[in-house]
Each structure stands twice: as structure tokens, then as C-alpha cells.
């Protein structure tokens, strides 16, 4: 079990155990495709999910690929960072076809461009023209105040005793 981590470290990548079953690998953006391809060839065949973290102070998006090996009973968390002002990364749908839908979701909620993904049409949202909603600079309160009408006495909270009278 430990040798898989040594192999990854030999590829000049940072890797560490999170617990007995899970390890994380930190990969530069340019090598993400080759690392995921390598892990797939090393029995990490299950693609469990793709997440994104918006590190707004750092000016980066962190993409998190979650992979599963059924033979080794291990979970690999592969992380890579891309610049926030120009979020472009290659699509992984050549390795896992299934990636297509996960990338489509991240494209919609974070505005990340996946080069090579043929299907980045709107998914969950309809007619969305605002900032991608899961970004940290999207203000949910301002959005709902603009979208929904509030009566003047309701904007700063309802006073229950007055209402009961």
C-alpha cells in the first residue's frame, strides 16, 4: 500500500496520507492529465467526483479530483491550482467519459473553461447571466434583494408582536 505513494513521490510530486485509506497528491496544472492517466493505469479506475475551491485571496481556483481504487481499497485526492483570472484547464473526458458532466457543473458554478469538453451547455441553472454562483465574490444577499421584491417594512426583519395584533 505504501509503495504507491513512493512511486508518486518519485515522479517529483508532493503526496501525503490523510488517513489509512486516503492520500492526497498535489500536481502542477500542466501535468494533471498525465498524473490522472497514470493513476488510472495503477487501478484507480473509479472516478468519484470533481470539486473546486475558490481561494479568492490567493487568486487561484483549486480543482480536486477524487479517485477510487477497488483493488487496493484506496482513495486518491488529486489537487491542482489554476489562476483565477483566466481559469482554463484541459478536459479529462478522454480518460473518463463520465468527467464530462462533472466538468459541466464546475463550468457553470465557477466559470472554469475545460478545453476539449464538447458539452459545456447550461446544466442546473436557467438563463444565468450573473457571476457564477459558487464563486466567493458572488453575493447571495445582494442577488436576492435585487431579484425579489421586498416590502419596505419587511426588509429589516418582521416584528412578530406587531403582526399578531
Amino acid at each position: 500500500m505504501a509503495d504507491i505513494l513512493d512511486e508518486i513521490r518519485a515522479m517529483d510530486l508532493k503526496a501525503s496520507w490523510l488517513n489509512d485509506w486516503e492520500f492526497e497528491v498535489i500536481v502542477p496544472k500542466e501535468r494533471i492529465g498525465s498524473v490522472l492517466d497514470y493513476l488510472k493505469s495503477r487501478t484507480f479506475k473509479g472516478f468519484m467526483g470533481l470539486s473546486c475551491v475558490d481561494w479568492i485571496d490567493e487568486g487561484k481556483f483549486e480543482l480536486v479530483y477524487i479517485l477510487q481504487s477497488y483493488d487496493l481499497s484506496l482513495e486518491a485526492i488529486v489537487k491542482t491550482k489554476i489562476p483565477r483570472h483566466r481559469p482554463v484547464i484541459e478536459s479529462m473526458n478522454a480518460i473518463w467519459k463520465l468527467c464530462e458532466v462533472y466538468e459541466r457543473e464546475m463550468h457553470e458554478f465557477f466559470g472554469i473553461e475545460f478545453v476539449g469538453n464538447p458539452n459545456l451547455r447550461p446544466f442546473f441553472l436557467e438563463n444565468w447571466l450573473d457571476t457564477p454562483p459558487l464563486r466567493k465574490d458572488f453575493d447571495t444577499l445582494a442577488f436576492s434583494e435585487e431579484l425579489f421584491e421586498f416590502k419596505e417594512d419587511e426588509t429589516h426583519g418582521i416584528n412578530p408582536p406587531e403582526r399578531i395584533e
Binding site: F47, V64, I66, E75, I77, L98, Y102
Partner: protein, 377 residues
């Protein structure tokens, strides 16, 4: 004058669009597939999520770590407890909180009861789609006994909000385990009836045997987990492979069906139900005395140390995961929810439904036990 020919060469004539959902007895949740049909056969299936999207991941970033516990059970309606346990396990790992043995046993009891309730709910839906309504009534009726137990334990029937970082909110009430034992005896008597009534029933067999075959490689490649994966012959269960809580102290088997069709998927769930009853009986015997919760700081001051963790639980549908990031604040920085129905509902269905007849579509959906709220979260 040239008129548009109304024959086979005109695609507009050959194909028509059919919405299955969002308000349809054959689909679960407020979710829909837009089917392109040719006669009775599906030519193309497009999932149309978003009607149920409540933006939980964003809402969680605006609430305290413990406040979110009231929010997340809503992510999966038929089996809400997996959310609470996975979320609490993530916090406990990052904040290095030890959970007492008794609390871990209580969590296993709650999870397994929820698994049984989820099975009863799922198969009753199958009864609805196959016209076998009596099974729907029976199973929903039996599920009510579990809801009664949950109501006594937690105060809530569907959403329990019972887990808390460090353990559970209350100890088991006096006499609760005896009632649970009575319920297990009752389920033990009911199982042969279910088998005769549902699984050996020619109507159910005719509708499900051979439908929607998934091979082992296909299942892995398409990211299926849980009973859907195991029914295709890949025997992988997180409870065995990467034991969490006290599953390594309990003796249970992973049943094998392995035919990969719709019938083996419901059969797999039925056999796992037997194992759940076995687990619960052991828990009743083995549960130790002691504290049920480790004290955690005041929720307004409760800061989870910097870091990230992917915590996961084997739900009745497969791997339910929470990827959580903390920046050391009183609120989570980011929470990502991996629902087990995501890959099958949004990706694999677009392939599997093609070529299927319209009456088989709801049966296929119910035998995969899809739960749209967990991807439309």
C-alpha cells in the same frame, strides 16, 4: 407546390419529444428526463436537472459548522442520516475529536435502520411503476414502524438532526433497544412474505429480469457505487474495504448476485437488508455503556482547524461523500457533496435508456434506486 412529406424520411415525423418528469409517477423527485422517442422506443435521453437545486453548498458557507446539521439532511430525503454522519465524521477528523464507543454504535444503529427504511421506500416505488400496488402499501406501512422508532429516538420522523460533532445529541431512551429488537423480529417474519410476494412474483420478474444489463467494467467506468456496482459483480463495500465507525467489530457478509440486470439490483438490496438486520442484532448485544458524546466547544466559538478532508459513508445507494475545506473559521470554507446518484442519473442514464421501451424507463429508474435530490443539491 412542394409540401413537406409526412413519411419516414421526415425526421420531425419520426421522432417526438416526451418529458418524463418533473411531475410524473414514474420518476423520483422533481427531476426530469427529456426523451426523444421513436414510436415506443427511446432514441435519446437528456437529463434536465435544476428544478430541485437549492444551492446547499453555497448556503453551508454562510452558516456555522453546527448550524449546517439542520440543513444537510435535506440533501437526500429517503435516507437523511448518511449526510449527518459523513459531515460529522469529517469535522471530527479535522478537529481531532474522539468519538466514544457508545456513540459509534448508536450511529451504526441509526445508519442501518435508515438503510432498511430506504430499501422499503425504494422497492415500494418499484411496486408503483409495475402496477403492483399492494407491495407499495405493505412496504410503506412497514417503514412507518422505523419512523416511529426514529420519532421516539430523535423527535423527527423523516429528518432527524440527531448527529453532532463528537457523538450524538441524546442517549438511547429507556426501552428503545427492546422495541428495536421487537421490530427486528417482526421484519424477520416479514422477509419470507416479501420474497414470495415481490421477488418470486412472475409480474416483477417479467418486468425486471434481463432489463438494463450493466457489466462489471461498464459499472466501474461509469462511476457506479453501492448495490448497483455490487449487482454487476464488483464486490466492494466501504463498510468492509475501508471500515469506519465500528463496522470492523461486526460480523456481516456482502451478498453476491452478480447478474447485472435490474432484477439482480433489487435482489442485491433485498439480501443486504438481511445483513442489516444481522448487524442491528449484534449492535443490540454489543453496545457498551458510557458517554454518548464528547464535549465540543460552544458552537459560536467552534473553529475547525485549517485543512481539508474527504469523508465518506456507504449509503443504501452507494458512496456518499463530503469534501470539506476549513480555513480555521467558525464556518466551513467550502463543502462539496458527492451524491451516489450523480453518475448514474446524469451520465449513465443517457446511455442506458437509449433503445429501451417507454414502459421500462420508470422500472429502470426505480431499480437503480436513484435519488435526484442528492445530485440536484
Amino acid at each position: 407546390m412542394e409540401l413537406t412529406p409526412l413519411n419516414e424520411s421526415n425526421d420531425d415525423y419520426r421522432y417526438y419529444e416526451l418529458f418524463i418528469g418533473p411531475n410524473h409517477p414514474g420518476i423520483e423527485g422533481n427531476f426530469s428526463y427529456i426523451l426523444k422517442m421513436k414510436g415506443h422506443t427511446v432514441a435519446e435521453a437528456t437529463p434536465d436537472p435544476g428544478l430541485l437545486h437549492r444551492g446547499f453548498e453555497k448556503l453551508m458557507e454562510r452558516r456555522l459548522w453546527t448550524q449546517n446539521l439542520a440543513l444537510i439532511p435535506r440533501i437526500c430525503v429517503p435516507e437523511p442520516d448518511v449526510n449527518e454522519v459523513a459531515y460529522c465524521m469529517g469535522i471530527e477528523h479535522m478537529a481531532k475529536i474522539e468519538v466514544p464507543k457508545r456513540a459509534q454504535y448508536i450511529r451504526v444503529i441509526v445508519l442501518e435502520l435508515a438503510r432498511i427504511a430506504s430499501f422499503l421506500f425504494g422497492v415500494s416505488g418499484l411496486g408503483g411503476t409495475t402496477g403492483h400496488y399492494t407491495s407499495a402499501q405493505w412496504l410503506i406501512g412497514d417503514r412507518d414502524y422505523i419512523l416511529d422508532l426514529f420519532e421516539w429516538l430523535t423527535g423527527g420522523r423523516v429528518y432527524h438532526i440527531y448527529q453532532y460533532p463528537g457523538g450524538v445529541k441524546n442517549d438511547l431512551p429507556e426501552g428503545w433497544l427492546d422495541k428495536l429488537s421487537d421490530f427486528l423480529d417482526y421484519m424477520g417474519k416479514r422477509l419470507p412474505e416479501y420474497d414470495k410476494f415481490i421477488f418470486k412474483n412472475p409480474i416483477i420478474q417479467k418486468r425486471t429480469v434481463g432489463l438494463g444489463y450493466i457489466s462489471a467494467d461498464e459499472a466501474i467506468e461509469n462511476g457506479l457505487t453501492g448495490p448497483n456496482l455490487r449487482a454487476s459483480g464488483v464486490i466492494y463495500d466501504i463498510r468492509k474495504a475501508q471500515p469506519y465507525l465500528v463496522y470492523d467489530e461486526l460480523d456481516f457478509e456482502i451478498p453476491k448476485t452478480g447478474d447485472g440486470d435490474a432484477f439482480s439490483r433489487i435482489l442485491q438490496r433485498r439480501l443486504e437488508l438481511g445483513e442489516s438486520i444481522k448487524i442491528l442484532r449484534q449492535c443490540i448485544k454489543q453496545i457498551p455503556q458510557g458517554p454518548y458524546r464528547t464535549k465540543v466547544p460552544n458552537p459560536f466559538q467552534f473553529r475547525v482547524p485549517k485543512g481539508s478532508y474527504y469523508s465518506k459513508v456507504e449509503s443504501s445507494r452507494g458512496e456518499f461523500g463530503y469534501y470539506m475545506v476549513s480555513d480555521g473559521d467558525v464556518k466551513p470554507y467550502r463543502v462539496y457533496v458527492r451524491g451516489p446518484s450523480y453518475s448514474i442519473g446524469l451520465y449513465y442514464a443517457t446511455k442506458a435508456l437509449v433503445g429501451m421501451r417507454i414502459e421500462d424507463v420508470p422500472v429502470w429508474i426505480h431499480t437503480t434506486d436513484m435519488c435526484p435530490p442528492d445530485f440536484d443539491r
